[in-house]
């Protein structure tokens, strides 16, 4: 589904991603771990098309197509979803209105009929309930005044509504209390399917107890320095990143 080859990216004249190779197949769950500042969010944002970052070398194929040539909204419409590490506030725009516009622009691009307000409300109410979200979040402005945990939950709610093919979750677990972590993990697990892939960025092995990954990768200094099965996460929890290439070589 996704093939990343020798991906280099920089921002503000500084190289952040320094040759990433990664292959993700449909049905797989991959976890990316790594120290602060190693480039995890940058990778997620580059995949989603954030133009703050300049790709200086390498390529990314999504379903065989050149992902880097697509606009961010085209990527979203093609099924790429990013749960932001820092979800953005949009004052004055109701959460559900925003999401319905998003769902419908994606449905339209896929040649599906748009959902009317009634149908949309039925589907969304069900998913909100599953994620333990209060109905007041329908009308509240997007992320404005949401607590950290509420924002993360809202990202997963959006994911559930948008039904992406490739979901990238950037530290969705940080800021969640233990119960919320379980609810959110259940929400993510419910989305696992043979034709969908999930890339989870996290610092904590704990999340991976709930969302069990097929592969774990360690990102350090803009490179994947180690890959393994789910046991690698446990090992990292025990030993930390010591011994892995973590110092920056300029």
């Amino acid at each position: 589904m996704l093939t990343i080859k020798n991906l280099h990216a920089s921002a503000a004249g500084r190289e952040i991603l320094r040759g990433i190779d990664l292959e993700i197949k449909a049905g797989e769950v991959h976890a990316i771990m790594g120290p602060n500042g190693s480039g995890k969010s940058t990778l997620a944002q580059v995949l989603a098309g954030r133009d703050l970052y300049t790709v200086t070398a390498g390529k990314v194929l999504y379903d065989g197509n050149d992902l880097l040539a697509m606009k961010p909204e085209e990527r979203a419409r093609a099924g790429i979803f990013l749960a932001f590490q820092y979800p953005v506030e949009i004052p004055g725009v109701s959460n559900l209105y925003f999401l319905r516009s998003a769902v419908n622009s994606i449905r339209k691009a896929r040649g599906l009929e748009e959902l009317d307000a009634f149908d949309f409300l039925q589907v969304s109410d069900g998913k909100m309930k599953l994620l333990g979200m209060d109905p007041s979040f329908r009308e509240r402005p997007v992320n404005a005044g949401f607590s950290g945990g509420e924002k993360k939950r809202n990202e997963i709610f959006q994911m559930a509504m948008l039904e992406p093919r490739l979901a990238i979750l950037d530290e969705t677990d940080s800021g969640l209390d233990i119960d919320a972590l379980k609810t959110v993990a259940d929400g993510v697990n419910a989305m696992r399917s043979p034709d969908r892939a999930i890339l989870v960025v996290t610092h904590y092995q704990r999340l991976l107890n709930y969302i069990v990954p097929d592969f774990v990768h360690v990102l350090a200094n803009g490179r994947i320095v180690k890959s393994g099965r789910k046991e690698l996460a446990l090992e990292l929890e025990e030993k930390g990143y010591v011994g892995l290439e973590t110092t920056v070589a300029y």
Partner: protein, 481 residues
Amino acid sequence: MSTSANQIEVIANQEYKYGFVTDIEQETVPPGLNEDVIRLISAKKQEPEWLTEWRLNAYRHWLKMKDPKWATVEYPPIDFQSIVYYSAPKMKEGPKSLADVDPKLLETYEKLGIPLRERELLSGVAVDAVFDSISVATTFKDKLAKLGIIFGSFSEAVQEHPELVRKYLGSVVPATDNFYAGLNSAVFSDGSFCYVPKGVRCPMELSTYFRINAKSTGQFERTLIIADEGSHVSYLEGCTAPMRDENQLHAAVVELVAHDNAQIKYSTIQNWYPGDKNGKGGIYNFVTKRGKCLGVNSKISWTQVETGSAITWKYPSCILQGDNSVGEFYSVALTNNRQQADTGTKMIHIGKNTRSTIISKGISAGHGKNTYRGMVKILKGAEGARNYSQCDSLLIGDQCSAHTFPYLEVKNSAAQVEHEATTSKIGEDQIFYCQQRGLSTEDAVSMIVNGFARQVIKELPMEFAVEAQKLLGVSLEGSVG
């Protein structure tokens, strides 16, 4: 620099879809202004002597006045002798019914989305259509008349209800008030008149649709709305004009009078031609709007969505004379390309326990210049007066500007006045977030801007809120890559 920062600066050609010209035979007086022209306008309208005199007095006073310079807008001096002060489509004599209206005019309004033909009337909205200097049609007139509501063109009101016109004309905005109000008083051609009798709640939205068509023509309309004791009325005006390279002047005066327990809600969707992306052409919208809360417990509420015009200069205001009266001002002003807006309000608290609310949302894109200028004046006798003002500015790109000038004059020490102001930039992160959810850049900007303007949009009558939202989106087309 990242591409989206670049994108934000790119101002593409924006289509103004109301820019067409109607090819119709017009009756036009030669350009220029003098007492003869004023007499001619007055004669064409078969006005009573007192009104001709009123105009002439206004003109003589205006000659002594100077074009105001205090607003933060720039434009070359206006040559008042090159303007045509009266231009009207030729119409058949006799009583106006829709059947008499030139089909070309009906077509024009249809193209503008303002249906005048009986079979297409918007339910719940009565329309008075003003084309250049005259009113060409008014819908639902008879139905309203059954309730005692007078709604129609100003010229008709002069003929049919001269006592009302004489009593209220200039009672809120005197002919000597300011330069453009003075000019309007001398040469005003048509506009809408509305009187709602005691205790009547007007069952439908009243609206006037102003259209400038003729070249080199100024539009000087005059609107007068009187809400008698305990009555309610909601009125909306919309405006468009053809695309022309030269600037055209629109200097209107609107006067509102609310008696005891009466309420007037006045909404504007102003979409005059804004000029092209380099600032060529466009309407100079120099307007005086003022309402007087004459009676106790009366309320006047202004809501405006200003997206058009090369220059907007207007301050819809409230004189809160009656005890417990309420004044409100909700405004969204959007300037894109080279547009300039200097707009705001004056709230003059005279009566006891008078309250006012000001919510102003300025949006600047391109090289747009947006100024909020507002005054809250609380007189000594205004025991218990309260005001709340909130002025927010949103910048799109970094070539545009926003200014806020709140003036405060409080003579009563017990008055409560609160002012909040914010300025923010539309964030690349907000746009990216929307894009990541599948929205196009334009939909993203439109959504963010509408969110910003929401407090004001929700004050509009339902029928028009949707139109206003679309307009905000359309007016920003091309402002972000």
